[in-house]
């Protein structure tokens, strides 16, 4: 029952809305208090009563996606210290730890903007550079 990577675990990040004291006062397995709802942590009767309201977002992928920096939406830049590729927005090079002076975020939506961009690719706001 503890297959974390099964299809049903795609929705696991939404807490089961039908739990009671047997969960909230004892906690589930693998350490109490994780927001993950795990099979077995609620009473069997309740498991079948799980009828959540339809959600706006449909699919919830695995929390850890195996994409490199280059695949991230706002691209990457090169660390002037070690030459590694650094995801746009990171204040530090993730390889050598050097401070990245070029890190910038959209003043409107808050997402990272690519190096040198005058407008946010996400919301179109001027980046102020």
């Amino acid at each position: 029952m503890f297959n974390f990577f099964s299809d049903s675990s795609r929705k696991r990040r939404y807490p089961n809305p039908n739990r009671g004291s047997s969960h909230y006062q004892k906690g589930g397995f693998f350490g109490m208090g994780s927001s993950f709802s795990r099979s077995g942590s609620s009473s069997p009767r309740r498991q079948y009563g799980y009828q959540p309201y339809p959600r706006q977002g449909q699919h919830y992928g695995m929390p850890q996606q195996n994409q490199g920096y280059a695949a991230s939406q706002s691209g990457s830049c090169i660390c002037p210290n070690c030459g590694a590729s650094v995801p746009a927005g990171s204040k530090f090079c993730l390889s050598c730890g050097a401070k990245m002076a070029s890190a910038a975020f959209c003043p409107n939506c808050g997402k990272p903007v690519p190096q040198g961009a005058k407008f946010c690719p996400e919301c179109g706001s001027p980046t102020g550079r």
Partner: protein, 228 residues
Amino acid sequence: MIFFRRAGCYTVESRLGGGRYGVCYLARDPEGRRVVLKKFRPKIWRENSGGNHHEAVILSGLDHPAIPEFLGVLNLPRGYFFILEYKQGTTLKDLLFHRHTEFTESMILRVGTQLLDILSYIHSRSVVHGDISISNIVDDGRQTALLDFGLARYTGGDLSVDLDHSCFGNVLLYLLYSRYRGKKFGAWYEELDLSAGKTLFLKRLMGLEAPFCDDAEVKEAFLTFFSD
């Protein structure tokens, strides 16, 4: 158990806690300031270098007193670390299950209001935390802070803000159950003696009734039903 005392120029003092991706240590920088060293399991760092770049980027773009600042990266032979600002306090999990704290109405009002302020801020910066839980929240009796952006993502991808709303509701239920002494017989809405307003508010957060549109709506309803 601490297996080392020094990491770069940092002096390790104690182990704060462990989780999915490694272990967090309390340490001092050369000036004696407290910082957190978040050590990643080597396997995660090597095989999934795309994984923790989300946390690095997202924390870099946030600036809020109740969110740890991203202070640096340490890539040492003995381990790979993020350096984070230390947020003092005790996790809600330890307050509930080790100190057996009973959360009064006014404590729940304060913690809930502070969490909603943090959520409004991160959502206004297009960030979904994705893992709001009693082990990722610390409280020092005056101020609540939100930790662990390891599963956070920008909106427009896999996560939507109603995930944070549901997890916030789940945290509120933990706090409400801290004073429950009744029998174990069912779901929270059957066991807890809550006002109709509180019940509907929590059902909307948890996805059993129509969800809230935005953080302002959540906050307004929370203040209405949890202030008395």
